[in-house]
């Protein structure tokens, strides 16, 4: 097991290096002079030349590359031009928010997807199965940002004017917490945060939930065809036990690999959903940075996003190896 984890970790190293190199290439390929923001009639060319030297921009490209690698890997992403504070500290504020949102979404995706998948598999070819398949197709084809807007319109606005609508299902339209958040007790803070999480995590997650349901359905169908399930039924176990205890365990195995697959999608969606819901996460940060043309922040955020995907894939692979011992002994790579 340890050998497998080490091997997997070693494989991640060239990947991170590749990501860094790509970010560097994109930066270099960008048209325009990085010093352009300092260019001004009152700044003399000599001063610019001096600054260029200070920043190491007069060095040959491979020297720049190595220096850049060193600073980036030590977590020094430079200073944000617009906010005038270290990018690392901006990201440190934003990463937990994005993780909270995507984590909640991930829970939602797998809870809904697995639940619906089981129901569909057990009731294969029933009216319910077809309805859910059709519904999943539509939800899967929805843009997350549009769904977010529609949720805001309906659950963040319209229902607030409906008298009989339960108070608990009237959600705030945007932001991460209410104005009086700091005055609330621990429980109050928790419920307030939860209320703010509901709409964005739904907007972010349902399309993936629809596709998890699809995978779960086919995985479950495959499992319940097997002999050991027939045995379980034959010895008189109730259908509920057969499905939930015997079949579910094996049907869940391939679903775990999806975990790593959905994270890049979630992070992509997070950019849009965070913009729609004014959620102060990394997606919002990269969007703001692009609007303000703050390229160092854009690049650092992109890099952190990619590294988070690599880490998530690592975790998914290790989880998979934990639950399915066969993986550990086969060659390191799965196609």
């Amino acid at each position: 097991m340890n050998a497998y984890i080490v091997r997997r970790l070693l494989q991640a190293i060239p990947l991170v290096l590749g990501i860094l190199t790509l970010v560097f290439i994109i930066l270099q390929a960008a048209p325009g002079d990085p010093m352009a923001i300092y260019m001004h009639p009152s700044v003399s060319p000599e001063v610019l030349e001096q600054m260029r030297e200070n920043y190491g921009l007069d060095q040959p490209i491979h020297v720049q590359y190595v220096r850049w690698l060193k600073t980036f890997l030590s977590g020094d992403f430079g200073v944000s031009v617009t906010q005038n504070r270290p990018i690392a500290s901006i990201l440190a504020d934003r990463i937990p928010n994005t993780l909270l949102l995507s984590g909640t979404s991930l829970l939602l995706i797998f809870a809904i997807g697995i639940g619906l998948g089981i129901i569909q598999a057990v009731r294969q070819h029933s009216g319910l199965d077809h309805t859910l398949t059709l519904g999943a197709l539509f939800i899967y084809s929805m843009p997350s940002f549009w769904l977010g807007l529609m949720l805001i319109l309906i659950f963040g606005y319209k229902v607030h004017f409906v008298e009989w609508w339960p108070e608990a299902l009237k959600f705030p339209a945007s932001g991460m917490d209410s104005a009086d958040y700091d005055m609330l007790g621990t429980w109050g803070r928790f419920t307030d945060r939860l209320q703010h999480l509901v709409l964005p995590s739904i907007a972010l997650g349902v399309s993936s939930a629809a596709s998890v349901a699809r995978y779960m359905r086919s995985s479950m169908l495959e499992v319940i065809r097997q002999d050991y399930i027939r045995t379980a039924r034959a010895k008189g176990l109730p259908e509920r036990t057969v499905i939930l205890k015997h079949a579910l365990k094996n049907a869940l195995l391939p679903i775990i690999t999806l975990l790593g697959l959905y994270l890049p999608f979630l992070f992509s969606g997070a950019v849009l959903v965070e913009v729609v819901f004014a959620w102060p996460g990394m997606g919002r940060a990269i969007y703001d940075a692009i609007i303000q043309r703050d390229y160092p922040t854009v690049m650092a955020t992109t890099f952190v996003f990619a590294v988070m995907v690599v880490i998530a894939n690592l975790i998914a692979d290790i989880l998979y190896a934990v639950v399915d011992p066969r993986i550990r002994y086969e060659g390191g790579r799965r196609e």
Partner: protein
């Protein structure tokens, strides 16, 4: 069936005036209904938009002429096909049936997929016929904005007006052009690139394979949208930049699919034979490998088209694709966002257009997958 008497032959000939009728009389429901609805739809456009069709000859914008050619062409095609298919085709059964014909036969049986195909044809026709379907201009802003802005959907403005008083229905119609054409071109670029890279990587193996696949792994590690907006942000967003960047960033998954196909393909006898004949690698790859991986590639392309339309909508929603006033579905949704609570219709309807378009492509993609590649059936 072929022993029809003189009377019914005459009836068939008379029926040929309306496309699809001969097929319907013979019991070919799919072909008959398709041709007839196509022809009737074109006639309806002609009837309801007669003034606009006439305006083609006076106003004479390129747009109008394209629409006119589409209208006439589709009508003519429906009529012609109806005649051709109406003829006796006794020899058909004897002739050999190609793999594609078998796939088409499978595809036709799949009702949802056929529905998706109808939706797609309708969409492309709508983009071409846009000037005949509305008399409003999607970009012109009238001087007296106050009286026309944020009008609710009504007979005059089917889907209401936006904050500048522009007709939302017209903007969605013209926006379809941008969304569909960007998606189409980007998919063509990325599929071509992905197929080539995947084939080369799988065929040669070794160092080439390792290097290319590590590169693909790296690209896939980036959340797609993040990589896209990062690259686009460095340039000034324009249609050209968006198309190229979309095309260049979406090829890795195709490359992976193609590579895994090629890995098994290159061990087969016919490739060995080609090598034994002394054919060069480029020729083997282009003439013998690639045609044999077309099935999964076509499926990936169709499903990818829906995906790219979603991504493009997201980009234009963020203001990183087509620039206003040019309408694209994402741009319209973004326009409506500011006044979402007062004028819900501006953001809602383009979103529905996106959903139906993507549903159409997903239906077709699923149908193609079932028809072309039964192994992948879920």
């Amino acid at each position: 069936m072929n022993s029809a008497g003189g009377g019914s032959a005459k009836r068939l000939r008379a029926a040929a005036l309306l496309p699809g009728l001969p097929q319907l009389l013979r019991g070919q429901r799919l072909a008959g209904l398709s041709l007839m609805s196509l022809a009737l739809a074109m006639l309806a456009v002609l009837a309801f938009g007669f003034d606009r069709v006439l305006a083609t000859f006076t106003a004479g914008r390129v747009d109008h002429w394209i629409a006119f050619l589409t209208l006439a062409g589709t009508l003519g095609l429906a009529w012609r096909l109806s005649r051709v298919w109406g003829r006796d085709r006794g020899g058909e059964e004897a002739a050999g049936v190609s793999g594609w014909a078998i796939a088409w036969r499978e595809f036709k049986k799949n009702r949802p997929a056929v529905l998706g195909l109808y939706l797609m044809v309708a969409l492309y026709l709508v983009t071409l016929l846009a000037p005949y379907l509305t008399s409003y201009d999607p970009t012109v802003i009238v001087e007296d904005i106050a009286s026309v802005r944020h009008l609710a959907p009504s007979g005059e403005h089917l889907l209401g007006t936006d904050k500048y008083g522009r007709d939302v229905y017209a903007r969605i119609l013209y926006g379809a052009r941008i969304s569909l054409s960007i998606g189409f071109i980007a998919v063509v670029i990325s599929i071509t690139l992905g197929t080539l890279v995947g084939a080369v990587s799988g065929y040669f193996g070794g160092v080439v394979d390792t290097v290319l696949m590590r590169f693909v792994d790296t690209l896939i590690s980036f959340p797609r949208l993040v990589l896209l907006i990062t690259v686009i942000a460095l340039f000034d967003p324009s249609i050209l930049v968006v198309v190229i960047v979309l095309g260049l960033t979406l090829w890795p998954s195709t490359a992976r699919i193609v590579r895994s196909e090629v890995l098994s393909l290159r061990e087969r006898e016919f490739i060995e034979a080609a090598r034994a004949l002394g054919l060069g690698s480029p020729r083997i790859i282009l003439r013998h490998i690639i045609p044999n991986v077309m099935a999964p590639v076509i499926v990936a392309a169709t499903l990818g088209l829906g995906n790219i339309i979603l991504i493009e909508a997201g980009l234009s929603f963020l203001g990183l694709s087509v620039q206003p006033p040019t309408p694209s579905w994402g741009v319209i949704i973004n326009d409506g966002r500011e006044f979402l609570l007062d004028a819900w219709w501006v953001s809602t309807f383009p979103g529905l257009a996106i959903v139906f378009t993507v549903v159409a492509f997903n239906l077709i993609g699923d149908g193609l997958r079932d028809a072309l590649d039964p192994r992948l059936r879920m």
